[in-house]
């Protein structure tokens, strides 16, 4: 273990934390906080101190915009085979139309990364699991492809891989016969970045998606959640999802 690089990590964290505290105190409510990164050393395990979450503002979500979906497909190499019924989709845009009033809106649907995920409960081998920091993943090393988690997911977030794959992205291993779903771009999150969908939405200035640490009261997402009304989809199931929505 290199002591110097360890020390560097701890020093960066301390400075970052102090800067955040000072900035937080100085800011007026309603002004967006610039998220201060806390770099996780590569060899350190994730911890439950952090809980990753996402806030999606349906009001800012434009009909016909597919930036988040496109970014996800590019990031993870989700090339389809022109078979929509069996092609994998990790995030999709849904159009909602109120049956009574006719009001229409769109929003992206993805794995909600629940705190009490039904998919984790039902997996016979434990391949579907929830990481300490709240990201729900499929350990494809022990997935037997029974698809029970797909039956159990209340959001239809999971996809099964129906064909042999090649040239997978190195940081998104995926293979025939296993189940997969949105990983919150865990390889990016572990490297102190945001998921590809959020990055694309922000880069195009739609700003409909916010990602951050729900356990950190000074994070941008926590500030927004405190300030604006938000909801979980199928909140009555009491799964305490990590993804919340405004405008539904």
């Amino acid at each position: 273990m290199s002591d110097q690089s360890n020390f560097d990590q701890y020093r960066r964290r301390f400075l970052g934390g102090s800067a955040a505290a000072v900035a937080g105190m100085a800011l007026v409510p309603g002004v967006l906080l610039h998220e201060v990164g806390h770099a996780k050393p590569a060899d350190k395990a994730v911890s439950g101190d952090v809980r990753w979450g996402m806030l999606i503002d349906s009001n800012k979500c434009a009909e016909g915009c597919n930036d988040c979906v496109q970014a996800c497909n590019d990031e993870h190499g989700l090339t389809g085979f022109d078979r929509p019924a069996t092609d994998a989709q990790w995030i999709r845009k849904a159009t909602l139309k109120d049956k009574q009033t006719g009001y229409t809106q769109t929003l992206p649907l993805l794995c909600q990364h629940c705190e009490k995920p039904p998919c984790v409960d039902v997996c016979p081998t434990g391949a579907s699991f929830r990481r300490e920091d709240g990201i729900v993943l499929v350990d494809k090393h022990i997935c037997i492809g029974c698809r029970y988690c797909m039956m159990a997911c209340p959001y239809k977030a999971r996809s099964f891989i129906h064909e042999t794959l090649q040239d997978q992205k190195p940081y998104t291993p995926r293979g025939k016969g296993t189940v997969e779903s949105c990983t919150f771009c865990v390889h990016r999150v572990d490297n102190d970045e945001t998921p590809a969908c959020v990055e694309a939405c922000t880069a195009e200035n739609h700003n409909a998606m916010v990602f951050g640490d729900l356990n950190d009261p000074s994070s941008k997402i926590s500030q927004q959640l405190k300030q604006y009304n938000s909801r979980q989809i199928r909140a009555d199931l009491q799964l305490n999802t990590g993804v919340r929505y405004r405008g539904i």
Binding site: P41, A42, D43, A45, F129, R131, D133, Q166, R174, K176
Partner: protein, 154 residues
């Protein structure tokens, strides 16, 4: 007498293994060389003899560490193995061919490998893709000896 015929028998069998079409007409597999050395004294991330016998243990341990605990150290990362042992040229061998580093030995030993149903068997081309290294490393280019040593070791 018996000892004589035994020696003859064994030699005959060994020679019989060298049939036309056998890879390189040698008894042992032809293992492609890697892109770089780990250090001046060591070829791979662990001593070669150790890797030959126990690479599976490192892989199995690291996969749980990465998957469940989010540990992405480069020392035993499968992505780094591939980056170093397989070229990123467009005509680089796939794992199905005997010229692929892993398969060159695994086909010889007749041990099937499961990894590449899911994992990429070749490094990703760097042009135009999101560079996703672990901390402090760029991806795809030949990893020089010095850079690996800067990696956080376990």
């Amino acid at each position: 007498m018996i000892k004589h015929s035994l020696i003859l028998l064994v030699t005959g069998l060994l020679l019989g293994v060298v049939t036309p079409g056998h890879a390189g007409d040698s008894l042992l597999p032809e293992i492609p060389t890697a892109q770089a050395r780990y250090s001046d004294t060591q070829g791979c991330v662990e001593p070669t003899a150790e890797m030959r016998r126990n690479h599976m243990k490192y892989i199995l341990h690291q996969r749980d560490e990465t998957m469940h605990r989010g540990v992405r150290s480069k020392q035993h990362s499968l992505v780094e193995c591939i980056n170093c042992h397989v070229s990123d040229a467009p005509d680089a061998p796939r794992v199905s061919s005997e010229q692929h580093f892993c398969n060159s030995c695994h086909s010889y030993a007749a041990v099937s490998i499961d990894c590449f149903q899911c994992h990429a068997d070749r490094p990703e081309k760097t042009a135009g893709t999101h560079a996703m290294p672990a901390v402090g490393q760029s991806r795809g280019e030949n990893v020089p000896v010095l850079a690996i040593e800067e990696t956080i070791h376990e």
